[in-house]
């Protein structure tokens, strides 16, 4: 079977899988509502959640925009730091030895605790939320970038050296293309992670955003809105993942030749 045929078949299977998932969720949900016998205040039926989505659409969208802005801003900062550090590590290996213990320390302190400390110290402004998002999404980006930059074929680097290529030329033509598959793969984890990070950051004292809505809905026993927010957050994460896949598809279009 040709690559294009198997590729098309794979894409079709993926589409079917997503369609099955989206159809299954309300069915399983309805069955759970019917079988559990829980009151709609605790386990609302899909119709009630749909009502919330329609009636509170503008409010939900406002808070979604807030969360998405924090997630994207934090994610951009995480990318800049990860790219800067990975390039620094490749060109000055000693700097990796120096920075790594700090990375291990920051990585292993529970980020929920770090978020609380940041809010106590810096307040609940945009900066704090962005830092939380950076903490969640930055490590997979850095780890994959370092691995990718080090995966550059040595014979290609030697060819460049013999051609007296500058460091920038070696980076642009050999190191970066070698790191790209790793970098793209990291986005699948880190981009969705940045949305979760933004929501968690909003849990703490925020007055807007999906995280704030989750806390408010819990306090007010609004399970219907809680489910609506969960649905939106899940759709955002799925959209982020699919966006990464689409980007990957475009970046590596030459592989399908």
């Amino acid at each position: 079977m040709s690559d294009s045929k198997s590729g098309a078949k794979g894409r079709f299977s993926a589409l079917i899988a997503y369609a099955v998932m989206f159809i299954s969720i309300p069915i399983v949900w309805l069955i759970a509502v019917e079988m559990s016998g829980l009151p709609s205040v605790i386990l609302p039926p899909p119709s009630k959640v749909l009502d919330v989505l329609l009636n509170e659409f503008s409010t939900l969208m406002y808070h979604t925009r807030v969360t998405l802005s924090v997630a994207i801003l934090g994610y951009l900062v995480a990318n800049l730091i990860a790219i800067f550090l990975s390039v620094l590590f490749v060109y000055s290996p000693w700097s990796e030895h120096f920075v790594t213990p700090w990375m291990v320390l920051i990585r292993n302190v529970p980020f929920v605790t770090v978020a609380s400390i940041l809010i106590v110290t810096l307040g609940d402004g945009l900066g704090t939320k962005v830092i939380v998002v950076v903490l969640v999404s930055f490590f997979p980006l850095l780890a994959n970038l370092v691995k990718g930059l080090n995966a550059a074929p040595p014979e290609l680097i030697d060819r460049m050296k013999v051609m007296n290529a500058s460091k920038w030329q070696v980076f642009k033509r050999v190191l970066w293309p070698a790191a790209l598959p790793y970098y793209v793969a990291a986005h699948e984890i880190a981009f969705t992670g940045s949305i979760i990070g933004a929501i968690v950051a909003e849990w703490f004292f925020a007055r807007k955003g999906l995280g704030f809505l989750i806390v408010q809905s819990t306090i007010e026993y609004r399970a219907d809105r809680l489910y609506a927010v969960t649905l939106i957050a899940s759709l955002l994460a799925i959209a982020a993942y699919l966006l990464c896949k689409l980007w990957e598809h475009w970046v590596f279009r030459w592989r399908r030749r």
Binding site: P153, E155, L156, D158, R159, M160, K161, V162, M163, N164, A165, Q169, R173, V174, P177, F252, W254, R255, R257
Partner: protein, 254 residues
Amino acid sequence: MIDALGVDSLCKSFGEELVLKDIQLSIRKGEFVSIIGPSGCGKTTLLRILGGLETVSSGAIQIDGASIEEALAGQEIGVAFQRPALIPSLTALENVQTTLDLCLRKSRLTPEGILRDFGLGDSLNHYPHQLSGGMQQRVNIGCAMVHQPRLLLLDEPFGALDEMTRATMCRWLDAILQETKQTTILVTHSIEEAVTLSDRVVVLAARPGRIAEILEINLVRPRLSWGDNAFLSEMRRVRAALESVAVKGARADE
């Protein structure tokens, strides 16, 4: 007349271990020299030193009267390794073009022209993963030659290919180099390759790597012919030199 390459009393050590000892070699312009020897005799190290990828511990190297550093700065060297050094996301044409993009010197060769000469006219826009091993190696050598370097270094370029492709590639390279008169050094394990392509074969002995013998190959080109007694006789001569080196090495080990 200045030699295309002059190596004078070259020694190379890695830490305490002497890897190459007192290498003396001069190569004329347009000459094809093969370096052959047992595993670990320092063939690749010598080639890497000539390509500026390793430094010497002592001794001197001149390429057309210039030092290695000057030759590198002038982009006078081309190199092709056993594993093709191709950028996977670029087509064959773009890979060869990359050499010229990096190169400050003028070349009368064009990427398209060289690939057509190499028999890859139908694969110009193919990516490396769409090419066979032999075709990838042709593109690889194209990348190393398109800027017309004064010195072409080949490190077992056909080592990973099957026997028949190897023989085809040997004939192809012989024809190309006869036409271009490119000064070339080839590191190889294959006696057949060395005899088919070389004007001279340098036999290295191991531990430390040193020149044991330099053999002139006086055969008319094109050479590769198993029915030709003169060809077989040259093969036997190189083999005998290699065996002698191996026997001496084994005695030294005892």
